[in-house]
Amino acid sequence: MTAPNSAMPPSTRTPGSILRSQGPLLDVRNLSVAFPGHLAVRDISFHIDHGETLALVGESGCGKSATSFALMRLLPRGTAVAGEVNFNGIDLFRTDARALRNIRGKRIGLILQEPMTSLNPVRTIGDQIAEGLVRHEKLTWTQARTRTAELLDLVRIPDAARRYDDYPHNMSGGMRQRVMIAMAVSCNPQLVIADEPTTALDVTLQSEVLELLDSLRRQLQMALLLITHDLGVVAQWADRVAVMYAGRIVEQAAAHDLFERPVHPYSQGLMRATLRLDDGTHYSNARLSEIPGSVASAAGEQGCAFAPRCSQATEACYHAPPALVPFRDRLVACRVAVEPSEEPFRAVVGR
């Protein structure tokens, strides 16, 4: 399997990224994840700079959650991984379990998708936040209690001082997700991984929670890896975007560039399938287009995984998977799109 990214000097890999003085905070190279009977992530590479928000976008089952868990080595036993994950120069895949535990929760925080099940139902939310502080910051439980109240206040939970002894079942979904956020940022991590942080919430709560997450990112100067299937979220909160399809990154660009001109046919399809509320379209008067077919079975396919659903696919697309290569201001994995074809490039969807 080819690995074009690792061969390139770092500076050319990320057109459109913000300026940085040091190396990237997180550098993922040739990551693959295999569950028994199913190859979920195939040889992907990306990086995250200090303080930036990278969104990993794709349909469910495209491997984005597997990617996020792989970064922290939280995959279930029996899962095979390959590749390199460099965090501040430490290879997370090769460091020992103890060193890894000193990074988890301290340098990297994780927010899970389902606030209903991500909190232990038989322990108070305060204890669950405080135990990270006790573990990493060497606080006593009493000190941790005070700090926890501050954190609850930071995530805008009303009456924070009194919520320490509440159990998860006393709280609404939105409140629980705030608790999860407080837990993730409790030790001032450099990176927070948020796996679909708002999917399980009411639409009205989604923007509130994301706004909170973004303001905390700025306030605490963390980087954010935002895993989502929601392009609206991406457009509003991400600096850069990596679009995943069937375990591979098919396009990677600055958020603005991607929305301006999606290059990969799959990205184009995603844009078209997204309803924009701001331009007055409504499904009743404008047909919501969708991508024909469904995510191809990941096993056994030889060529471009998207080819069977792609209107522009050529014979060559079925033979080998396309490499992710620089194209104009971004990286794209599509033979047809990057070919200096006779037809001039044209944007299919404009803003």
């Binding site: 988890r104 929760g105 899970l112 991500s118 232990n120 135990e131 990270g132 573990r135 999860m180």
Partner: protein, 328 residues
């Protein structure tokens, strides 16, 4: 506070629910026992050897056995209402006294076996879960499955052979050394050494039940999101098991433990026989043999009562383990 109010609620609810159950048990058992061929008069007369029709009738009249079944039932319920369990023709004592002299021994045996099986079972289960599907788990699982499969009383006999006959460490039967006439602490110690083997024998099967349940409950809990969240916090495996997994896993274990209390009492019958332990189980068995139905009824009633009370305690334990219960 929460537990206290819980205790009150649980008690009153149990009382309301238990009363019809207890009454049902009494009536059902009473009628059932009427179906048993023969009565106490037969047995007593048979044993004394002089079974004239007149003495039989006199005996029956004395114990009220000559009256119609419904009258007998009414009499029994009347006794019960006055907190009396009736009179035992066989032992020639009030049934209440008889049971009260045996009850402490049965409760002692049950309690020690229960605690032993819970503690060891949960420890085994936690160990197996920690090594799930690796060889320490497989080895202990097999051992536990053998405990689960072997008749408890037979295990009792085998440990008598080992610890009592071959090694001579522990007494093989009875509740205290005959004729030793000990007092105070020495008496206590004597009782405890006599308690060890019967407790192990009774606990075997239940240890296996709780161990298997703890293992599967812990593996189930380990798959929950909050365990992944705890790992993401950087907690070590031990802290995760103790703080996050075990307590959640104990909830189903205590539920099943409550369901098994009746079985524990049933098992005690055979184990008491093996070890000559002077408890209610043997009393019940003797009562069946002697057709002494007042005693049998009393034992049945009281064991149901023990099960009900124990379930209230389990309920409280449950409320302590699971804060969600309060809101239901």
């Amino acid at each position: 506070m929460r537990l206290l109010s819980r205790a009150g609620k649980s008690l009153s609810r149990t009382a309301i629910q238990a009363l019809p159950v207890v009454l049902g048990i009494v009536v059902l058992n009473f009628l059932l026992l009427q179906l048993v061929p023969g009565d106490a008069a037969d047995v007593i007369a048979g044993e004394s050897g002089s079974a004239t029709a007149e003495t039989m009738a006199a005996l029956r009249k004395q114990f009220g056995l000559d009256q119609p079944v419904l009258i007998q039932l009414a009499n029994y319920l009347d006794h019960l209402a006055h907190l009396s369990l009736g009179f035992s023709p066989r032992y020639n004592t009030p049934v209440g006294d008889l049971i009260m002299s045996r009850l402490p021994f049965t409760l002692l045996l049950m309690l020690s076996a229960f605690v032993l099986s819970l503690v060891v079972g949960i420890a085994f289960g936690a160990f197996m879960a920690a090594f799930a599907r690796r060889w320490p788990d497989r080895a202990l699982s097999l051992f536990v499955l053998i405990l689960y499969s072997a008749p408890g009383f037979w295990v009792g006999l085998m440990i008598i052979v080992l610890f009592s006959v071959k090694l001579g460490w522990l007494p093989s039967g009875g509740a205290m050394t005959v004729g030793a006439d000990l007092t105070g602490l020495a008496r206590m110690g004597d009782l405890l050494t006599h308690l060890v083997l019967p407790s192990i024998s009774l606990a075997c099967f239940f240890t296996a039940v709780y161990a298997r349940l703890t293992r599967s409950a812990m593996l189930e809990v380990e798959r929950q999101d909050f365990v992944r969240a705890a790992e993401a916090k950087g907690l070590g495996p031990f802290a995760i098991q103790m703080r996050h997994v075990l307590r959640n896993a104990l909830i189903p274990v205590t539920t099943v433990a409550g369901l098994h209390l009746g079985n524990l009492l049933g098992g005690a019958i055979v184990v008491e026989t093996v070890f000559g332990w002077p408890g209610m189980g043997r009393l019940a068995l003797d009562a069946v043999m002697a057709r002494d139905f007042n005693v049998l009824l009393g034992v049945l009633l009281l064991s149901s009562f023990v099960v009900i009370v124990a379930n209230v305690l389990i309920d409280l334990l449950h409320a302590w383990l699971d804060p969600r219960i309060e809101s239901v």
